[in-house]
């Protein structure tokens, strides 16, 4: 029967069922990843971010919140220009991490 509406998907991040394989793998090769303080410098300076919603900070979070597909979609915007790496106050090798995610 068509009621004209249906169950809407939950907006909750269900941490119990988040698959962290990609993030954990990334963390092994890039231990610095954990020192991110979510300052957003990478996003602010991002060349692609000037035209799109690209944000490395969010990509990192997406990977930790089970939104891997969204992260992979966002990462396609990256131009690998390296500004993010240069501005990161924690010295995270962001460009390398971005490259690793796409592999």
């Amino acid at each position: 029967m068509d009621f004209g509406f249906c169950l809407s998907p939950s907006s909750h991040v269900k941490m119990d069922s988040v698959d962290l394989t990609t993030f954990n793998h990334l963390k092994e090769t890039n231990p610095d990843i954990n020192t991110c303080i979510a300052c957003g410098s990478c996003t602010a300076t991002c060349t692609a971010g000037n035209f799109t919603e690209m944000s490395f900070r969010r990509i990192l979070l997406m990977l930790q919140r089970g939104k891997e597909e969204e992260a992979k979609k966002m990462i396609q915007r990256c131009m690998l220009c390296g500004k993010c790496t240069l501005v990161c106050p924690r010295g995270i090798n962001i460009r390398k991490i971005l490259l690793d995610i796409t592999r």
Partner: protein
């Protein structure tokens, strides 16, 4: 020159002030309501940021005050100002004449049950930071049974108008991360989450502690306040919060939830404080003269304050204030 100085409270502030006053040739007298000296810090296992055993510090302080006249299990029941200074009546009916009074009454821990949504005292596995510290000290807590997921909630009873505490409790962030490391040391396979509002940790070595939690212990910091806690069929805790950096609500199951309870003013001194004419500030702590040069003074001549009775303070803050109050009292006595 043997002048009595009454110190109410035998915690870190009281003990350190007594030590210094004694060295200055004055006669400090400590009145402590509990059965031991050392206050809250004596119940603590290790201190941030470098995991130094609290016992070391407390023992040193105890050793320094071993010759100081000390009343344990004793409260000041009445105090009067007279021409000579103060006359205090103790709960054991003794009377003390003192030239000056130092209020070093410290703080109380926020009663976690007041934040009903966290279910402290209702859900088995919700505990306070003090209880967790006790676990580190004794190794005993029935609630901690090889947990796989542990959560820490910051700002419980702090920065929260709903419980009338608008101030930041200063030490909880650092304590939470210290305890997060420690729980990872005990249970290396456990996942530890902290739910913070702002990570307010500043001081020498604090950032190193933060980096340690991130790099060595993989403590996951989520920015957002836990809004409700429930229990599922297995007695595990289901918590909800918003990951504000991600912009989405988040739900997860935890084995143990630790509430980082704030410091509140120690209210057991209210009557004596009133008799001395020392007011409270807007945070409910004692009002000192001013927060810069007059931090140890009060509006009342001869009444001094030191430590966490005026605001939430760390141990180094408290010791610093205790030393400065001794100088203030010494100058006060000399100027008489």
């Amino acid at each position: 020159m043997k002048e009595n100085i009454l110190i109410i409270g035998g915690g870190a502030a009281g003990m350190e002030a007594a030590t210094q006053l004694q060295k200055m040739g004055l006669t400090p007298i400590i009145v402590e309501k509990s059965e031991h000296l050392g206050g809250h810090i004596a119940q603590w296992d290790r201190l941030f940021p470098a995991f130094h055993p609290a016992k070391d510090v407390v023992d040193q302080m105890l050793n320094q005050v071993k010759d100081v006249k000390t009343y344990l299990n004793t409260e000041v029941t009445d105090i009067q100002r007279n021409s000579d200074g103060f006359k205090a009546i103790l709960s054991n009916n003794e009377t003390i004449d003192a030239k000056a009074v130092i209020l070093a009454t410290g703080f109380d821990i926020f009663k976690a049950e007041r934040k009903q949504e966290y279910g402290y005292g209702i859900y088995n596995n919700v505990m306070t930071s003090v209880e967790l510290e006790n676990f580190f000290r004794t190794g005993n807590d029935a609630r901690i049974n090889n947990p796989k997921k542990i959560g820490f909630v910051h700002c419980v009873g702090a920065r929260d108008v709903k419980v009338c505490n608008t101030y930041c409790s200063k030490v909880c962030c650092t304590t939470a991360l210290k305890q997060a490391c420690e729980i990872k040391e005990v249970f290396p396979d456990a996942e530890v989450y902290t739910f913070y509002m702002d990570l307010r940790m500043f001081g020498p070595g604090y950032e190193d502690l933060y980096l340690k939690t991130q790099k060595d212990f993989d403590v996951k910091c989520v920015r957002g306040r836990v809004c409700e806690v429930s229990e599922d069929m297995d007695g595990k805790l289901v918590i909800k919060a918003e990951d504000t950096l991600f912009g989405k609500p988040l739900k997860m199951t935890l084995d143990v939830l630790v509430l980082m309870c704030s410091m509140e003013k120690n209210k057991s001194i209210d009557v004596i404080q009133q008799k001395l004419g020392v007011a409270n500030n807007s945070d409910g702590f004692m009002q000192n003269k001013d927060m810069y040069l007059g931090m140890n003074g009060t509006a009342q001549d001869g009444v001094f304050v030191a430590g966490a009775c005026t605001a939430p303070k760390s141990l180094p803050d408290t010791i610093g204030e205790a030393r400065s109050v001794a100088t203030q009292v010494f100058n006060y006595i000399n100027s008489k």
